[in-house]
């Protein structure tokens, strides 16, 4: 399993990660090695199996939908890089008209 540079760039795009050229080259090589190692799983016959579930007892957990106390707005916004009028402030989401 050997990844190409454009595959690495595609994964970084999906993961919303800005990588340097040096990082792309290094990850291409390292991820290829790890995926090659993982190839050995393909040899295990699992055709008869369902996927594992996360929990030992795996009950379906539901709780009553009752309103309760939550964090104060001022506490929620305290860690925001930028906030305004009780909201998170971000740069434009959509491209601006030229």
């Amino acid at each position: 399993m050997s990844l190409t540079l454009s595959e690495v760039e595609h994964i970084a795009e999906l993961a919303r990660l800005k990588l340097t050229d040096e990082e792309k080259q290094r990850f291409r090589q390292q991820l290829s090695e790890i995926l090659e190692y993982a190839e050995r799983l393909q040899a295990v016959d699992t055709s008869h199996l369902p996927p594992a579930t996360a929990q030992p007892a795996a009950p379906s957990v539901l709780r009553p939908d009752v309103p309760g106390p939550c964090l104060e707005l001022i506490d929620v916004l305290a860690n925001a890089p930028q906030s305004e009028s009780g909201q998170f402030r971000v740069p434009p989401v959509l491209e601006q008209e030229p």
């Binding site: 990660l17 800005k18 390292q30």
Partner: protein
């Protein structure tokens, strides 16, 4: 009173109860030692000495009031005045929580997680937030964004990871006990490398509300301390159902009063899995484990070979599932609501730039790996296949626990390695986890404790694994072993 920093959990609580020392004196002793050792060890990311002294004084006040009261209506909290350190992945309201990452350098959590709250309710004094691999991804604490922690037994070596700061702080007697987390061995492996006792509970046993998420089907909150009985006492306070964690399980937690138990193991069946004694294991590690199994035999246990045939598959399974879950969990670090924001002209660029700058190399690598394993066209071959093989690993344990009560095995193939030894070779680092990953994939509990030293004087750790919810049995066996041996009482020769 001299030698306060020699005290473990029970000893500290007994000294406080007898009035041999106050919590303030005890806490000060640990803080002073920490301050002296920190420049070399770097066990903490954020020490909280002022908070600790405030909490200690409050604990002393409470104890004095209780003693003055002729007929107190309730008992004192079980851990009142005990200094404890917290891995910097658990939130404590008002104290910054970095997770070892620069992306959370200035994050001050607005709430306290359940595990921490339970300890606060039990009366502990928080000495600080300990160092860790960034987002708990690593086996050496070298991946911390704040510099590595060093092993108190040899400062040129790693303490293990990712709870390396917690393990080093306990081993260096900077604190009697600490919380850690274990997603793929992050409590047990550093416990082994630093010669302390560490419990990785059953999945779902300890609430993860307020634990920064890494691998949600694997993450557990555990304890590092000097002995099985010390870890058991803290675990008893920590464990239990929590409405705020959907994966928390409502199973009763027995109080583990090990002090009253005898040290014989008559009738106990100990399984020894051949798959854990592979080529490449350090000979002294194997010798120490075999010797420790003999000790258990001498205490009355029956030793039986067992097979966990899919052990070798645990590594590739884990390194697909954990990164996949991490890539989803870490999507939240987008520079919008909290954490680092790199200024940019568009929101898209904020995402890319903040994550590109804020995450370290191992975290980026795992996000990439996980994203790939989950991406269209590869999902079934990688993530799907890994999940199915995980079922086989769990079935191995289910079968084994029909024949034996506990499984004894090495924690890691070798003792603590040198800082920088694995350089920029992630796969070599992942191989360090080969013996700890299966318990996480199966959700079973594991207890690691010291069973000897190698020729260089580095601690060797053994782990006992048990069936779901049988932490009590692991503690009992660990305690019996520690009554018969004194490895757990050894301390590194630090200045």
């Amino acid at each position: 009173m001299t030698g306060l920093t020699e005290l473990g959990v029970y000893q500290s609580l007994e000294a406080l109860e007898r009035g041999d020392c106050s919590s303030r004196e005890l806490t000060l002793a640990f803080l002073e030692r920490s301050q002296r050792l920190e420049p070399e060890m770097h066990a903490y990311i954020t020490p909280t000495p002022e908070l600790a002294l405030q909490m200690a004084e409050a604990a002393d006040q409470r104890r004095r009031a209780w003693k003055r009261d002729a007929a107190p209506s309730q008992a004192l909290p079980g851990l009142l005045g005990l200094p404890v350190a917290l891995k910097d992945v658990l939130t404590l309201k008002g104290v910054r929580c970095t997770c070892g990452s620069r992306i959370l350098e200035n994050f001050v959590p607005p709430f306290t997680g359940t595990a921490v709250q339970r300890l606060l309710d039990a009366g502990v004094v928080v000495t600080g937030k300990t160092n860790m691999d960034e987002f708990a991804m690593g086996s050496s604490t070298e991946n911390s964004g704040y510099g590595p922690t060093r092993n108190p037994w040899d400062l040129t070596r790693v303490p293990g990871g990712s709870s390396g700061g917690s393990a080093a702080a306990v081993a260096g007697r900077m604190v009697p006990a600490a919380l850690g987390t274990d997603t793929g061995g992050s409590v047990r492996q550093p416990a082994s490398f630093c010669g302390v006792t560490g419990i990785k509970p059953t999945y779902g046993r300890v609430s993860r509300y307020g634990l920064v998420a890494f691998g949600s089907s694997l993450d557990t909150v555990g304890v590092l301390a000097h002995s099985a009985e010390d870890a058991a006492l803290i675990f008893t306070h920590l464990a239990g159902y929590d409405l705020r964690d959907a994966t928390s399980l409502d199973v009763p937690v027995p109080h583990m009063a090990l002090r009253l138990q005898e040290g014989n193991l008559n009738g106990l069946r100990v399984g020894v899995p051949e798959e854990y004694f592979i080529n490449g294991i350090q000979p002294e590690v194997e010798a120490c484990i075999r010797q420790a199994i003999e000790v258990l035999h001498g205490l009355g246990a029956e030793i039986k070979p067992v097979s966990l045939p899919h052990t070798a598959e645990a590594l590739p399974v884990y390194y697909l599932i954990a990164p996949a879950e991490a890539s989803a969990n870490l999507a939240r670090y987008d520079g919008v609501r909290y954490g680092l924001r790199e200024p940019a002209d568009s929101l898209q660029e904020v995402f890319f730039n903040s994550r590109g700058k804020g995450f370290g190399p191992e975290v980026k690598r795992r996000i990439m790996l996980g994203t790939y394993a989950l991406s269209a066209g590869y999902y079934d071959a990688y993530y799907g296949q890994a999940q199915r093989v995980r079922t086989l690993i769990r079935d191995d344990f289910t079968q084994a626990f029909q024949a034996v009560d506990v499984i004894a095995a090495p924690v890691a193939p070798s003792t603590a390695f040198r800082l920088g030894e694995h350089g920029d070779d992630p796969l070599a680092m992942y191989l360090e986890d080969v013996f700890t990953l299966p318990a996480n994939l199966a959700g079973v509990p594991g207890l690691a404790f010291p069973v000897g030293f190698d020729l260089q004087g580095l601690p060797v750790g053994m782990q006992l694994m048990g069936a779901h919810f049988r932490e009590d049995l692991l503690f009992k066996v660990g305690h019996a072993y520690q009554l018969a041996t004194d490895w757990h009482t050894r301390s590194p020769a630090l200045a």
